[in-house]
């Protein structure tokens, strides 16, 4: 493989890791898979990453952070709290199966991979904080009712995770559409909003 400067190389390694992770899940991603994806030797990976745990953690962080940034980006143009919360659900809902499978693997592997656990935990906290900021705004301007912003944020996030989990892990026990609609309805109830306030404008 052509010689690269270290910064570029690190980028390509993480990109290849993400590709393998998306295809096989974190738990089944190996050094050799990554090397093959990249078309290089396995030794090269260890020249840049001291352990597989670290590499997986960095690749996972990149994936998860992109999701988060995509939501933040979509939120940028919206001012009112309810609109923002609706956008939050819109963007979260697009999450494909492989995205959630990656999270499932992360939560499961966290017990055995310290670096991965740190990242997973931090990202989850950021998701909750983002939700809390939206709800906090809604409570402040009176458009939402809620006496414990932190608790409600964790509840809505957990609801989303728990429903997505059923879709991904168990196939069609519930559909993606049900998970989406049910989580919006749950949030409406939590925040004292009229039914349908968080629904997508156009039926999909």
């Amino acid at each position: 493989m052509a010689r690269m400067n270290p910064d570029e190389r690190r980028l390509t390694i993480v990109a290849a890791t993400r590709a393998v992770m998306a295809r096989q899940g974190i738990a089944a991603t190996t050094v050799r898979d990554v090397a093959a994806e990249l078309g290089t030797s396995s030794g090269l990976i260890h020249h840049y990453y001291s352990s597989m745990d670290n590499l997986l953690a960095e690749a996972f962080e990149q994936v998860a952070r992109e999701d988060l940034e995509r939501v933040r980006g979509a939120l940028a143009g919206v001012d009112d709290a309810i609109g923002r919360l609706r956008v939050f659900f819109d963007v979260y809902a697009r999450d494909d199966d492989q995205g959630i499978q990656t999270w499932l693997d992360a939560w499961s592997e966290a017990a055995r991979r310290p670096a991965l656990q740190r990242i997973s935990r931090r990202l989850n906290e950021e998701w909750q904080a983002l939700l809390a900021s939206i709800i906090g705004q809604g409570v402040a301007d009176g458009s939402m009712a809620c006496d414990d912003v932190d608790a409600v944020s964790w509840r809505i996030l957990s609801l989303l995770d728990g429903l997505a989990l059923q879709v991904v892990a168990h196939g069609d026990v519930i559909s993606l559409g049900e998970a989406d609609a049910w989580s919006r309805a749950g949030a409406e109830r939590e925040l004292g909003l009229p039914s349908g306030a968080l629904s997508l404008a156009l039926t999909r």
Copy 2:
């Protein structure tokens, strides 16, 4: 090891598997670990179980079904719907870390272990059905308000799973007590119950 009749032997194998699973999680449970736990050879395990996937699935089913039966048992003596729902939370809450870690592993491994996926899915559906029967009763006798029993049952179950997940996978990002209190509060809101209606009688 002393010769046993097949039925007993299967029992001891599954018991040993459960012990290892509880200690290390499903993902890290190996044939050799189970054999060592049992004090026998690894060949014996394969004499009774055609594949590791099947053994893990059976052990997991036993663990998960016991949890479910424990809830059903505790429910037996309670008649009113709200009381039953409160008991449901009481018994679910005792779930130790290792119990939830097992579920995390099951959800993650489901993508790669067909037998395990079938069991995990079926058990989750039974949990939801149990919840739905309680809520259905509450709606019928007017003690609970809810227009989609199925959706609300899935939401409450997902909420419980999602919050427990945070406790187990990420350590003290939220405490077990918060997860418990918050899930009860969420259910009260979902079902139009006064705040505190589902709280444990005696503070723990």
